[in-house]
């Protein structure tokens, strides 16, 4: 599977390994996610316990879930504003002192916000209203403290009902008609209430109604009204709204301004009806926890009470310490970048409004069947996850309703985010460092291996001779690579020793063979002298010829070894190779009568740095080779031309070609191209001597077949002289 990995360089392999290390932060992330799940579960359990606890308080409190236990919410108000349980029944006299201080603190002011109709010259101080709602026993009370600069009472002479300052009451029954009452006053004291039609002016019944009672009392700033409604009139699922109408012109009696307790648009479609249980709400208030919301839901999945809010008070961003050290600055920079990357959880999110009347979550069905459950859902704007836990409220064996506690997982998300951030930041830094360190290490390692490779390559010449057995191990510490360098050195030394032995072998061999040869040779000489008759004997002559051949062989063997020794002490001089060739070929022609020589020189003077004697020896061997393998009566061409790299000497002869793969080997010692003449020696040392001399002159040698395939070309490329 990982076959491809084998073909990579060490550098790439290390980079892959570094990449593999990214598993670690991935695991860290996994861990954080798992931990979040764990924390969420913990939160669920805690909420479930809370829900259970609250449910226990509400167990068997059937009366809290009675239909008429609900108090209609003031139209347009938030759910946390509700009718207060009053300390006593109210004396309807326009004096608010009997409402109790607790309730009075909750008085709401309506000014511009409640004004739906007003003239352009409306002055805020001229018309305003303070309002409070309360209940006691079967009665619902409303208090209005109206600021009015000019009180106009009803003029009985006029046909229109609301021709003075008056109060309109709207009761919105669920799915039913709207009931409207108009309360008018002819003066301070009891007001008259009429059930009216949609225009608020026409009484539906001829007589005023008795169940709505209100008293008006003039005050310093205007007037105050106390109003009483029987609770059955509003009941469950109903909504209640009030309008205070101001008439300021005594003559025209025109409606000048209106303050409404609910936003009154053109469209007065009945909205949802919210019914809360004040008792439950009050109970829950004490249990409320920050950042959590408690819902009480009845069997019909109707919301009976809700307290608290999910959104925490907006945290004031701490100014934060100014980064001082470079480390802190770096941390801050990374932190800012990570915020963008990791999607910082938003503190502000939008969720279900508290005034919804029905919860339809799947979980609720289960809980209402008696099963405590917990679940999570997304906030309305999908920004955060909200944990919910529901616990049934029981009455004996039946379920009265349920308590649901909700809490946003923001705190957990926040800590998860912080964890992830610090994890990411530290991983990033550590990885940057580790990666850099690894890359530097890998680079250093490959450089060292490369250097070792280069030195090792250079240690042995292309011909396989050990040039420098010393791999510089000084640069290599005592690690594996250093050891490798040292073992290569020792290997090269041994190889060098063996090569020396091999190089010395022909010499030793020749030396050892010379002694017995000398015995044979001297014995033959004595024999010839002593025995006159033997002189001229053909066998004697053959024996002497054999001795002669043996001597030639032995002398060839020692020649290479002696040559190296001789060259070492020789000095190289500037030498006109062209002239040397001219002289040499001139002299050679006489010696090799079987071949013709053709010399071509590009210029008359072509200089190299060399030793004339050795160049002559090199030519000896080249010509010997050409003569030996050249077809008799053909021409041997010797050519010297100038090339870009130096002076190129070529010796071309017609005859046998060399096989593929032999080109390099022919210059090795003891490699012969073949035998042509059984009486001449073929130790293959001639071209080896050529190479030795060429090496000494820093020249390159090679052999190739002629392009037309009729023979071979031996080339020697001499470098130019310095000057």
């Amino acid at each position: 599977m990982l076959k491809w990995f084998r073909y990579l360089s060490i550098r790439s392999k290390l980079i892959w390994l570094v990449l593999a290390m990214f598993i670690i932060p991935w695991m860290g992330t996994r861990y954080v996610v798992e931990m979040k799940e764990f924390l969420l579960q913990g939160q669920k359990d805690a909420l479930l316990l809370t829900a259970g606890g609250i449910a226990t308080i509400l167990n068997d409190r059937t009366e809290l879930f009675e239909l008429d236990a609900g108090v209609p919410e003031l139209l347009g108000e938030k759910s946390d504003s509700f009718a207060y349980l009053l300390p006593r029944l109210i004396q309807l006299d326009g004096d608010a002192s009997d409402w109790g201080n607790n309730a009075l603190r909750e008085k709401r002011g309506f000014t511009e916000a409640g004004l739906n109709q007003c003239d352009a010259d409306y002055v805020p101080g001229n018309f305003a209203m303070q309002h409070l709602l309360g209940y006691r026993s079967d009665w619902l009370y409303a208090l209005f403290e109206v600021t009015d600069d000019k009180i106009i009472y009803r003029d009985l002479e006029r046909r229109k009902l609301g021709n003075g300052d008056h109060i309109r009451v709207l009761i919105q029954h669920p799915y039913g008609p709207l009931t409207r009452y108009t309360l008018v006053a002819r003066g301070p004291g009891r007001m008259t209430a009429y059930l009216v039609s949609g225009d608020w002016q026409s009484p539906l019944l001829g007589d005023p109604v008795d169940d709505v009672v209100a008293m008006l009392k003039e005050t310093d700033y205007g007037y105050a009204v106390e109003l009483r409604l029987p609770r059955y009139l509003v009941g469950r699922y109903s909504r209640l709204g009030f309008n205070i109408i101001d008439v300021d012109n005594h003559e025209t009696r025109e409606l000048r301004a209106k303050i409404s307790t609910y936003p009154q648009a053109e469209n007065t479609q009945p909205g949802r009806v919210l019914l809360t249980s004040p008792e439950i709400t009050q109970l829950l208030r004490g249990l409320n926890q920050p950042n959590s919301r408690i819902w009480v839901i009845d069997k019909q999945q109707q919301v009976r009470a809700v307290v608290g809010g999910l959104t925490p008070p907006r945290a004031v961003e701490k100014p934060g310490e100014q980064p001082v050290t470079w480390w802190q600055k770096l941390q801050r920079t990374i932190s800012t970048r990570l915020d963008a990357l990791l999607r910082r959880p938003d503190v502000v999110f939008e969720d279900l409004p508290s005034d919804i009347t029905v919860r339809r979550d799947e979980m609720i069905v289960d809980v209402l069947e008696g099963e405590p459950r917990s679940d999570t859902r997304r906030s309305v704007d999908k920004k955060v996850k909200i944990v919910m836990a529901g616990h049934p409220i029981r009455e004996g064996n039946s379920v009265l309703g349920m308590v649901m506690v909700e809490q946003s997982s923001h705190a957990i998300l926040r800590s998860q985010y912080e964890l992830l951030k610090s994890l990411a930041a530290s991983s990033l830094l550590v990885f940057a460092f580790v990666t850099l360190a690894l890359i530097a290490f890998a680079w250093r390692l490959t450089v060292r291996i490369g250097r070792l490779h280069d030195t090792t390559e250079k240690a042995i010449s292309p011909e396989g001779r050990v040039q420098d057995a010393n791999i510089p191990t000084r640069a290599y510490p005592r690690d594996e690579l250093g050891d490798l360098g040292r073992s290569i050195t020792s290997m090269l030394r041994r190889l060098s020793g063996y090569t020396h032995y091999l190089e010395g072998l022909p010499d030793t061999l020749a030396h050892e063979m010379n002694n017995p040869l000398n015995v044979v040779s001297s014995s033959l000489q004595i024999l010839e002298q002593e025995q006159e008759s033997i002189r001229g004997n053909k066998y004697m002559e053959r024996a002497q010829a054999g001795v002669q051949r043996l001597r030639h062989l032995l002398s060839s063997l020692t020649q290479a070894a002696n040559l190296e020794e001789a060259m070492r002490s020789e000095e190289r001089k500037r030498l006109n190779l062209a002239r040397l060739l001219r002289d040499y070929i001139g002299g050679s022609q006489a010696m090799f009568s079987l071949h013709r020589f053709k010399l071509s020189l590009q210029y008359k003077e072509m200089y190299i740095l060399g030793s004339g004697d050795h160049i002559a020896e090199l030519l000896d061997k080249l010509i010997d080779n050409a003569v030996q393998f050249g077809v008799p009566q053909t021409t041997i061409e010797v050519c010297l031309v100038e090339r870009e790299e130096g002076l190129l000497l070529t010796v071309t002869n017609e005859g046998a070609v060399i096989d593929e793969g032999q080109h390099e080997r022919v210059f090795d010692p003891m490699v012969s191209l073949g035998r042509k003449d059984a009486t001449t020696s073929h130790l293959g040392l001639g071209l080896y001597v050529v190479r030795l001399i060429a090496d000494y002159h820093q020249a390159r040698t090679w052999m190739a077949n002629r392009q037309d395939g009729t023979g071979v070309v031996v080339s020697v490329l001499f470098p130019f002289t310095e000057n």
């Binding site: 010499d507 020749a510 030396h511 050892e512 010379n514 002694n515 040869l517 000398n518 015995v519 040779s521 001297s522 014995s523 000489q525 004595i526 002298q529 001795v547 002669q548 001597r551 030639h552 002398s555 020692t558 020649q559 070894a561 002696n562 020794e565 001789a566 002490s569 020789e570 040397l580 002289d583 040499y584 070929i585 001139g586 002299g587 050679s588 010696m591 004339g612 004697d613 160049i615 002559a616 020896e617 030519l619 000896d620």
Partner: protein
């Protein structure tokens, strides 16, 4: 007058062959096979000429040691190294010990006789005349005296072997003319000579001249043919 020739050679066949050949030429021969017996013999009676092999039995440089001892006993005793060792180092070592000649195996016994005769002649010249005798050849800065085997360049004596002396003499007798390799091979009076052997002699001769005169350029190579002594002298 019969001369005594001592042969030190560890190979009995070669030793006997040399001895037989030299005896046939009328010389008295004593033969030794190793250093201790040879030195023992030389203490009793010093021969007139010594032929030494370098490697003697287990002693790599036994011949050189004997030569050193002999020089202590007699500074003018003709000593010839006759050995299979052909390296320049050995030749230089031999000559540093004041050997008169250094020839390599295989040897031509006839030529060996000629050499021995020449050396005896030289030795007797040196023994009987206080000076070097008349100069045989004077060629510019070169002075050759065959009788005493002495060569000098710019009046500085050179230490040449017998063979080297013959080569210089042969070149000097033919100033300006090329001495071919074949001709020079004859001059060295050895059984088997190749072009390279001649090159070797010339190289060593040039080196010796250059030791006394770094500007020495009179032995000229005629590439592919041979050598000649430069005309200008």
């Amino acid at each position: 007058m019969s001369h005594t020739i001592a042969i030190v050679e560890d190979d009995p066949h070669q030793r006997d062959n040399y001895a037989d050949a030299l005896r046939a030429q009328g010389h008295a021969v004593v033969a030794y096979s190793n250093k201790p017996t040879a030195l023992e013999g030389f203490k009793n009676a010093l021969p007139d000429l010594v032929i030494l092999d370098i490697m003697l039995e287990d002693e790599m440089d036994g011949g050189f040691d004997i030569c050193r001892e002999l020089r202590h006993m007699s500074p003018q005793l003709p000593i010839i190294f006759l050995t299979a060792r052909d390296s320049d180092i050995d030749r230089v070592s031999g000559l540093r010990l004041d050997a008169w000649d250094y020839i390599t195996k295989p040897v031509n016994l006839q030529f060996l006789g000629v050499r021995v005769a020449s050396l005896f002649r030289i030795a007797s010249t040196l023994k009987h005349a206080a000076d070097d005798g008349p100069v045989a050849l004077k060629l510019g800065d070169l002075e050759l005296n065959e009788a005493s085997l002495s060569v000098s360049w710019k009046e500085q004596p050179l230490n040449l072997t017998l063979t080297e002396f013959w080569v210089v003499e042969s070149l000097a007798h033919n100033v300006g003319k090329v001495k071919s390799y074949e001709a020079l091979m004859q001059v060295t009076k050895q059984s088997y000579v190749e072009k390279n052997t001649i090159n070797g002699y010339i190289r060593r001769i040039r080196k010796k001249f250059k030791q006394v005169d770094p500007e020495f350029e009179y032995i000229e190579t005629v590439f592919g043919t041979g050598y000649r002594w430069h005309k200008d002298t």
